[in-house]
Amino acid sequence: MSNQSSPKKHLMKGNEAIAEAAIRSGCKCFFGYPITPQTEISAYMAKRMPKVGGVYLQAESEIAAINMVYGCAGSGVRCMTSSSSPGIALKAEGISYIAGSDLPCVIINVQRGGPGLGGIQPSQSDYWFMTRALGHGDFHALVFAPASVQEMVDTVCDAFDLADKYRMPAVILADGLLGQMMEPVHFPEDYDFNKNTEKPWAANGHGNKRKHNIINSLFLQPDVLEDENFKRFKRYEIVKKNETKAEIDIEEDTELLVVAYGSVARIAKAAVDMARKNGIKAGLFRPITLWPYPEKELQKAAEKVKKVLVVEMSMGQMVEDVRISLKSRIPIEFHGRTGGIVPTPAEVFEKLKEMDGDDNA
């Protein structure tokens, strides 16, 4: 095999790929604060941003960083912040303000173990936090779950575009393993980051030529606030209809469907391959967007299967979305590891063997 005809590739760490993809997506300002295992994003931005005419600023805290994003997004500039689980929790208030002001921005969460300070090893225990409760009030953020360093690049580009398009925050939900590992990537050369940059709402100086724009999330009149929420949720319905994404690897006769996202999907894929080699009819469903959840895609993939296995680095969070999507029509089992322990392909394969055995007993 030769790599000569393929596009130019670079070997990159997941965290670096996120930062470089953001720069190439037109991110002009990055406000960060260090925390393991995502600090390389900050370090990379500190080195690169001054060279490309952007701003890198290490804030005095996570709370300061997200509020800088709030101000920057309000002026219509593409901006980003990054952190890991406990740091994202500190940003929650600011994220809610950003959502309540209908502003686009990109937030990177390279998850580590929790609750509390938890640990510094990979985890997926922020699923509910990102998809259900990213801050106070009624709102959603777009949530992307890359599973490779290449997908870190692709989802960051999508996140900036869709955040602008729908005027809402977008989250890249990675984990420590994805952030730290290295894989070859290529950057789309024809990427046009100007396609969504018309922002008539931005508070970027009216020059006495138009009415001034106000960026605000405070609406003291109940009917006005309710109206804002109705409008926002109407937009969410469009997002749910148009922006779900998943990778489906099933065969005509798939009986056991594994559902996993992010780095765990890579492990699940290795386990599914082992199972297939051993005559077990297994397949994989991998959501790429976690909000909106690819409900219809999952329903279709699970149409003919007998059982579903959800694997996560948590006590069982995404499994709830699988149950909601499949309306508990078929048995759904769960396998999870926590504390920074990454499930091995062998243990997922064992679980599949067990489920397959139950079936044939």
Partner: protein, 222 residues
Amino acid sequence: MYFKKVTIITGHYGCGKTNIATNIALDIAKTGKTCTVVDLDIVNPYFRTADFKQMFEKMGIKLVAPIYANTNLDIPAMNFNLTSILINSDYVVIDVGGDDAGAMALGVHHDYLNNRDDVEMLYVINKYRLLTEDIDNTIELMRDIESCSRVKCTGIVNNSNLGLETYAETVLDSLEYADEVCKKALLPLEFTTFNKDLKVDIEKKYKPYPMDIYVKTLWNMV
């Protein structure tokens, strides 16, 4: 392969330092000499030489690492005395953390490590890392590492690779780049390292050093 008593491995984040340090240590151990690996990485939480503790133990290699390495505690504390390690071991391989930030930990020992015939500090380069694709940037980073660690590099290791997408051409296409770096840095090329499973014919003058790949993700170990 010939190694000096002390081999220090430095370079850009993710250029392959840990895999190279591991290979060198195992090759030394195979000759029956005593070898100590010092994991001096104070910046990297995962994918580090301390991951190979059990393999090293089996091969009789001593591993010295920051006391909290791989314990989930994010404190780069080091509680060992390099001088006593150097006295008690035939060979020492020091795996330094990435970039100038990681090289800082080496500075404590600069008095001992500089200007000695039995110490070499290898600067590992990879043409396919975005920030060191350009020769000037590659040299600039080496100078940053030298000024931060206060130890001078003595040779270059060309470890250009694209991970699992490394082919014979990937390595061959990097030889010229490595030559240029050596010329500009006024340093000799010590090795051209590559996956030993790769069928690639590299001229002797590039000092080919085929290696095993130890640093892997879980799903690539199946």
